[in-house]
């Protein structure tokens, strides 16, 4: 067990990796929201997804991190770039939006209200948290996934077997997205 990871005996312990990654993610997210120019917004958003992937990796969700890397950093950036290449660009004199302080106050109040519940959150990796100790879902998958499906990656066994119908729907949604884009652009071929 790694000494830097929070354990149940040390509630709300955060490691330096977490703190610095949170600072990075929040900074890039704020810049993405405030940048006037769409192109610089897209570029900084790429940096944001870098931080998110590292954060997911730190929380040991490699499948999510890989999806974030594959989709958010690469493909989404390219598709957004092509989209703004086909639209007109507005000339901005200033680089950043001016901050609307009443809105910041409202968001800050909401954030403070949500942050007040943080103390009740289970620690990362806490074996007593409801999500983890649920015998019907989480524990069932962990205990039986390999025996029932023969696949080592429990995430994949849930995606393709236990929740296979959902995945079928998602695949069809991706397929439909391609067709709808063709419809919107009034084209009949992909390539």
């Amino acid at each position: 067990m790694n000494a830097l990871l929070p354990t149940a005996s040390v509630p709300l312990a955060v490691s330096p990796v977490e703190v610095s990654l949170f600072a990075f993610v929040i900074l890039t997210a704020v810049v993405t929201a405030l940048a006037r120019d769409v192109l610089s917004s897209i570029i900084v958003f790429g940096a944001y997804s870098l931080g998110m992937a590292a954060l997911y990796t730190f929380y040991r969700a490699p499948d999510v991190a890989m999806t974030e890397a594959a989709i958010s950093a690469g493909v989404t950036t390219v598709l957004l770039l092509l989209t703004i290449a086909k639209t007109s660009r507005i000339d901005h004199e200033v680089a950043f939006e001016s901050v609307h302080w009443p809105a910041v106050g409202a968001v800050g109040l909401l954030g403070a209200a949500m942050a007040s519940t943080l103390a009740e959150m289970p620690v990362v990796g806490d074996t007593n948290s409801p999500v983890w100790s649920n015998p019907d879902v989480t524990q069932y998958y962990l205990a039986n996934a390999y025996a029932e499906t023969g696949v080592e990656n429990a995430v994949m066994s849930v995606l393709a077997s236990y929740r296979g119908f959902d995945t079928f729907g998602e695949a069809v949604v991706v397929f439909a997205a391609g067709i709808v884009t063709m419809l919107v652009l009034r084209r009949e071929v992909f390539a």
Binding site: V17, A23, L39, I43, T57, P62, A69
Partner: protein, 101 residues
């Protein structure tokens, strides 16, 4: 007992050391964000994000080694690839605003 669990000094294992190093890399990444925010040209931003991406690849690899999960290196490889794609895509796009795409 793997190398990552070897105690260096004072209860600090090699894995902890690598995690602290990863935190150091994130702090350096925070410094580079200055260039991504300030610009002044689009190429400066792309350059900053490219350097940040290389940095993130290193962070992911260090996390994988430090947490004792070598399969996390797969994510780092995927990220290295997409970082390259992002760099050539955006830099080519900044020329004549997509006119040469």
């Amino acid at each position: 007992m793997t190398v990552a669990d070897t105690v260096v000094a004072g209860g600090l294992t090699v894995g902890d050391f690598l995690l602290y190093a990863a935190a150091g890399f994130v702090v350096l990444a925070l410094g580079m964000t200055y260039r991504a925010i300030r610009g002044p040209t689009m190429q400066d931003r792309v350059l900053a994000v490219n350097v940040l991406g290389t940095n993130t690849v290193v962070i992911l690899a260090l996390l994988g080694a430090g947490l004792g999960e070598p399969t996390f290196l797969d994510i780092a490889i995927v990220y290295a690839l997409l970082n390259f794609l992002m760099a050539i895509a955006i830099s080519k796009f900044t020329v004549e605003r997509g006119g040469v795409l």
